[in-house]
Symmetry: C2
């Protein structure tokens, strides 16, 4: 399997992208990584020549503040656009970037194209569930589609179900609709109409409404919502975790020698908590519902998250995820 990598995307490109690719290429001999970007800059970071790493030179770069659609249309020589075309043309099987999210969504939708039967792709992210109920849960859409419709949310449910089955090995994933109450009649117009569709969707195990308060407690395997709310929830989880950990750090540092000593003794435990929260080990966010996997990691991604994302893409390509989804939606 061949993965097209936008080696110029993200704050730490190409250095950390190349390092993560090297680690993945060493471990997975069945994966060929095709790095798109400035050849010299990439070569400078390549500490080793591996048979399963290729470089395709591209002169331009899509910048983080570029207008998404315009940059995809105009920067034909950019690493992201050339990588996307290589997937469209069948030379490579998946697209990976840590660059401009909006541009990657546009490249995925406009260049690679939607899967038949999918109206709008959704962005799926995997989170740790901090309870004994389950290890992780997937939320879709976390930001591809700010104005999702009930039809989209219903398709996200099917996409998330297949993802949870194939990538996380969950036999019969439960699907919850994010809502402002658990009762069936709760919600805004969008969630009420979505509820009605989800109830009739026989390709999923719909468990009804779930509340944002219960997400990290692992209330469902798949949580569906519109891209605006999902994005707000994703960023609230991140922001709350970061603020809290920083407050705890201050409380340890500013409360005298006893607290400092206590903090020292708890160092391993707190590291454990931090690792638990670090969802980069589940890979990047999947722009889901396209003809090929398109994956986005954090712009700040370093070697480790890049490596995990490639591992995740490999899992997606190894399984029959896309084939099964294609045949599912073709038979609708």
């Amino acid at each position: 399997m061949r993965i097209a990598v936008d080696a110029m995307g993200g704050d730490n490109a190409p250095k950390e992208i190349v390092k993560g690719c090297l680690r993945a290429a060493r471990e997975f001999s069945d994966v060929t990584l095709v790095l798109y970007g400035k050849e010299e800059a990439i070569r400078n970071e390549l500490s080793e020549d591996l048979p399963n790493i290729e470089i395709v030179h591209s002169e331009e770069v899509v910048k983080s503040d570029d207008d998404p659609v315009r940059s995809i249309r105009r920067k034909k020589e950019s690493s992201m656009v050339k990588a996307a075309y290589s997937v469209k043309n069948g030379e490579n099987h998946a697209l990976f970037s840590a660059g401009n999210t909006g541009a990657l969504l546009a490249a995925g939708t406009l260049i690679i194209g939607r899967m038949k039967g999918i109206d709008r792709p959704g962005l799926l992210a995997t989170f740790p569930a901090l309870s004994d109920k389950r290890a992780v849960f997937n939320m879709i859409d976390v930001g591809a589609n700010a104005d999702s419709k009930p039809l989209n949310i219903n398709q996200y449910a099917t996409l998330g179900t297949y993802y949870s089955k194939h990538v996380h090995g969950i036999d019969k994933p439960t699907v919850g609709l994010l809502n402002n109450g658990t009762e069936e009649n709760k919600g805004n117009d969008l969630s009420k109409s979505s509820y009605a569709l989800l109830k009739e969707n026989d390709s999923i195990d719909f468990i009804g409404n779930v509340e944002a308060r219960d997400l990290l407690d692992g209330v469902a395997d798949v949580v569906v919502t519109d891209g605006f709310t999902g994005n707000a929830v994703l960023k609230t989880i991140e922001g709350t975790a970061i603020s809290l950990m920083s407050v705890i750090k201050s409380a340890i540092m500013d409360n005298g020698i006893k607290a400092k000593l206590g903090g020292l003794m708890l160092k391993d435990s707190l590291k454990e908590v931090k690792d638990l929260l670090d969802y980069s080990k589940y890979g990047g966010a999947v722009l889901f519902g396209l003809k090929a996997p398109v994956i986005k990691t954090h712009g700040s991604a370093t070697e480790e998250p890049v490596y995990h994302t490639i591992r995740q893409i490999r899992e997606m390509l190894e399984s029959s995820l896309l084939e099964d989804l294609i045949s599912h939606f073709e038979n609708q």
Copy 2:
């Protein structure tokens, strides 16, 4: 000033409600608390006879799973409905309940009524800001209006500004629109249209879009959003904080004697963190935009949050908040 208290609302009613009222009545001799509910049950909890506590017997109770509008229309003899009518009739100046949120919203809107110039009231909640930028921030709407319109969001901005000025003493509160990116052109249809109105609102200091990730870092004094997203963000903050604290607790308990000892030494510091997160000390959520203050605390509220909420209502009544808002909207 006279505050109508629904003594039967919430999981711990009437016991904790009465205890909180006792504490407030002792401290604030200028406040008279009028407790609505089953007289005998209330008297059983009243450990002391205070001149500024009155009881009005009411036979019925609005339950937490009652249909909001129906219960307000039918349960005329309930503590919540009788308390609401006492505010409508001018006998009392504010309404407080820890009961059924939907029913309280309905009682506020249908019985007490909207302020002139306000189309839909919004629910305002105060959160701690975990940075040096500011001590607290207010978010409105956190759930009164699942289908808020741009007009509503613009009114929330004005309401939040007056609240922040009068209750938190902020001279010129900044207002941010919760959005999925900080650039002006970001968002869904609703947030884009709201942005246009907020930009023209000269009664506020609008600083543009803010992201959920930066809320607890204190990005603005007032954050406005629709009631569906605001509710999801509120519950995500709660859920993330609870999950994280419980994971930290497990990490301390399950990592041997060193971690346990460390935890013991950090006990005060972690308590400090917990106190910082405890936003019940800022009072309850204000159903804002009505002719009189209507305040809701958590259904699980105990003595302490009840006391803080009465303190908050007193601050609202003592200041010229409502008068100023009424004159503002009358002059629009």
